[in-house]
Structure formats: structure tokens, C-alpha cells
Symmetry: C2
Subunit: 227 residues, 2 copies
């Protein structure tokens, strides 16, 4: 009975040990507004940089710039916050903890220091974040680094998210509140963008690198003949 009380929390599976759990004190609407505001702010900052870019950008370039800027912020700040605080997150009274406690209805592994989740998010914060920023730099300066950075960022995002979703699926979504709001609204809808957009951007990078390498090969062959 005592053990049961100690583990009382609203997450799935309900047998998950979460002794530090404390309910959120802040209003969820305010927390979500802060995240929404940050995403809008990052997008506006990207738009500002796009406006100042000296190289002509296509509609797709602009979309990728904004996407990668928002990813940089989410990976480094939001996911970095989780990795740094994962041990105490379930009981902390901060905006960041509130957000993760809310998201955790769709995946309680964020509140139990699940090894895979912590390591995967650590890689995301430390690698995906900076590579997303490098992609933004590559687009804005028309650097040859652009597509290789875009490929690395998107492939890592895709790999991490596929592993993340499938490990939960493998256990019959045991970590997810089965209510459609949490299952579809949170677990599916908040992860699907990091499957679909990376797939598109990997294909885009692949095609552009392929074309670039073909042009380079021909140019090198012509240069050798002219020697």
C-alpha cells in the first residue's frame, strides 16, 4: 500500500516507479504559450536572417532555414534541458519540467531516466542541434557545406525518432496514455514532423549531392583533358 502511494502519478505504465513526482504548479496554457512564442521568435529571427542573406534563396531554402533554426532551438534548449535535468525532472517546479511532465503523458520514459531516451536526447542536443545551425549557415552563405550538413542533421533526426517511436511501439505503447489526445495529439503529431520532414530533406540532400558530384566529376575530367 505504501509502495503504491509512493508511485502514484498520472503516467503510463502506472507501475512505473516515479518517487520524485510532483504535479505541475504553473498553468499549462502559460507554458505552452512560452514554447509557442519561442518557436515564433526563432522563425522570425530566421526570417530576419533570410532577408539579410546576400545569396538568392528559393522558397524551399527559406523553409529549410526556418525549420533548421527552430530545430536548433528545440534540440539544444528544450531537449538539452531534459538531458541535463532528467534525474530530478519529475519533481521540479520550472517551466521546462512542466513542459516535459505534460509531454510525458504520451511517453513516461522522460520522467524515469530511461537509458535509451536520455542517451538519444543527449546525442540530439549535442549533435543534431549544432548541425541544424550549420545547415542554416550553409544555406544563408551558399556554402558547399549546406547539403552535407542538411543530410547529417536530417538522418540523425530520422534515426533517433524512428528508434524512439518503434521502441515504444515494440512494448505495445506501454509508456503512452491511450487517450487519443495524448496518443495522437502528442505522441504521433509531435513526432511525425521529425520523420516526414527529415525524409524529404534527406532525399533533397541526396539529389543535390548526387548532381553536384556528377558535375564535379565531369569538370575534373574536362580539366584533365585540357592539361
Amino acid at each position: 500500500m505504501e509502495a503504491q502511494q509512493q508511485h502514484q502519478h498520472p503516467y503510463y505504465p502506472q507501475s512505473s516507479p516515479m518517487p520524485h513526482y510532483q504535479p505541475s504548479q504553473l498553468k499549462m496554457s502559460e507554458s505552452l504559450l512560452t514554447v509557442g512564442g519561442s518557436v515564433v521568435g526563432l522563425s522570425l529571427f530566421a526570417a530576419f536572417l533570410i532577408g539579410r542573406a546576400k545569396t538568392p534563396l528559393t522558397c524551399k531554402d527559406k523553409f529549410v532555414t526556418i525549420w533548421m533554426m527552430v530545430c536548433t532551438g528545440i534540440h539544444i534548449v528544450l531537449e538539452g534541458y531534459f538531458v541535463y535535468n532528467h534525474r530530478e525532472l519529475a519533481g521540479m517546479q520550472t517551466l521546462g519540467a512542466d513542459l516535459w511532465r505534460e509531454y510525458s503523458h504520451s511517453d513516461s520514459r522522460y520522467l524515469t531516466s530511461d537509458p535509451f531516451t536520455v542517451i538519444m536526447e543527449g546525442i540530439t542536443a549535442v549533435c543534431d542541434g549544432p548541425f541544424a545551425a550549420l545547415t542554416v549557415y550553409g544555406i544563408l552563405t551558399d556554402s558547399p557545406v549546406r547539403y552535407v550538413a542538411q543530410l547529417i542533421t536530417s538522418l540523425m533526426q530520422l534515426y533517433g525518432d524512428v528508434l524512439y517511436m518503434l521502441t515504444n511501439a515494440f512494448e505495445g505503447y506501454a509508456y503512452t496514455n491511450p487517450h487519443p489526445f495524448y496518443f495522437y495529439g502528442y505522441f504521433v503529431m509531435m513526432n511525425l514532423p521529425w520523420i516526414v520532414i527529415p525524409l524529404y530533406l534527406i532525399r533533397d540532400a541526396w539529389l543535390n549531392i548526387y548532381r553536384g558530384m556528377l558535375i564535379a566529376k565531369r569538370a575534373t575530367t574536362v580539366a584533365k583533358k585540357n592539361q
Copy 2:
């Protein structure tokens, strides 16, 4: 007492439930000889293809061809075998099961259908294997696909192996027999190649793609001016 007997096996942590476990019947020396023979066979096949290639190959190209050929075999056959049979592996009397039972002294997650291990190995078998084969094709035919395939293969190998090693480290190597033979000889030495070589090949692909994209950019600029 009964429960304890049911779980008796030589793996770590010894509390790991492994009701299907049966010791190997075959001689380990024969099993290892078969794997060694297969790796030599794949290397010889790669060498045969290298000999028939119409494009001049550097020493590095030849090394990458052999490496990716061996990786193709290991990912699709050996790791594919694990993924296909993970539920019964601990008790199967086959060469493949023997090999995994032996390796599992350094990581028992292979015998308990650990979700992360099964999904990660599934991605490795289904994606890394074919992309490694595509890299071989790219090198032998001097195709523009070579470095992008090399980058994708190596990045996925690196990501998978880093996650794999760190999730075990995160739990204090609880899944590993602490004897140096298993910890260093198996866990470290059998995984380190898939950290070190992918890092080198990612750097190599990065540099070559960067140079290719730079040449392509210049060639395109010149072509536009000449119009």
C-alpha cells in the same frame, strides 16, 4: 527457489529473466571458424570485384570496398538473423544462436528481446546493410552516389553503435560480464571498429562532398557567365 532455477544462466545481470535459455551444443571454435571464414570469403569476393573494376582505385578505395562488403554481410546475415529470431534465440541450437549466445556474455540484451537492441539491429540489418552494398557499388563504378552512400552508412553505424554502447554504460555495464575477456575482448573490441572506422569515413565523405560541391558551384558559375 523455482523461479531462481528457471532463470539460471551465465549472463549478466544474473536476475535477467531468460526462461528459454539452453546452453550451446556446438563447439565454439567451429562457430568462430565459420564466422572468420565468412569474413575472409567476403573480403576475397571484394578483392575479386576490385580486380575487375574498370576505374582506378586508390588504396583507401580498396580498404573501404572490403570494409563495406564485410559490413553488408554482417549487417544483413548476422544481425538480420538476430532480429528475425530474437524471441527464441536463447534456446535455439543453431550456429547463429551459438554466436549470439557467445557474444551475449558481453551484452545479455541480445537474449532478452531488449526493445532498443531489437529495433536498432533491425534498422542496421534493413538500412545499413543495403547502404553498405550501395557504397561498394559506388566505389567500383566511380558513381556520384559513392560518398553520399558512404556518409549515410557510416553515420547510421556510428549512431547505432554509440547509442548501443552508451545505454549499457548508462546502467553501469549491468548487461556485461565484468571479466576483461568479455568486457574488453568482446564488448569493447567488437564494437570499437564501428565507432572508429565510421568516424574516419564520415570525415572522408564530408571532405570529398565539400570539395565536389565547391567544384560544382564554380563550374555552374562559369557556365552561367559563358551563356
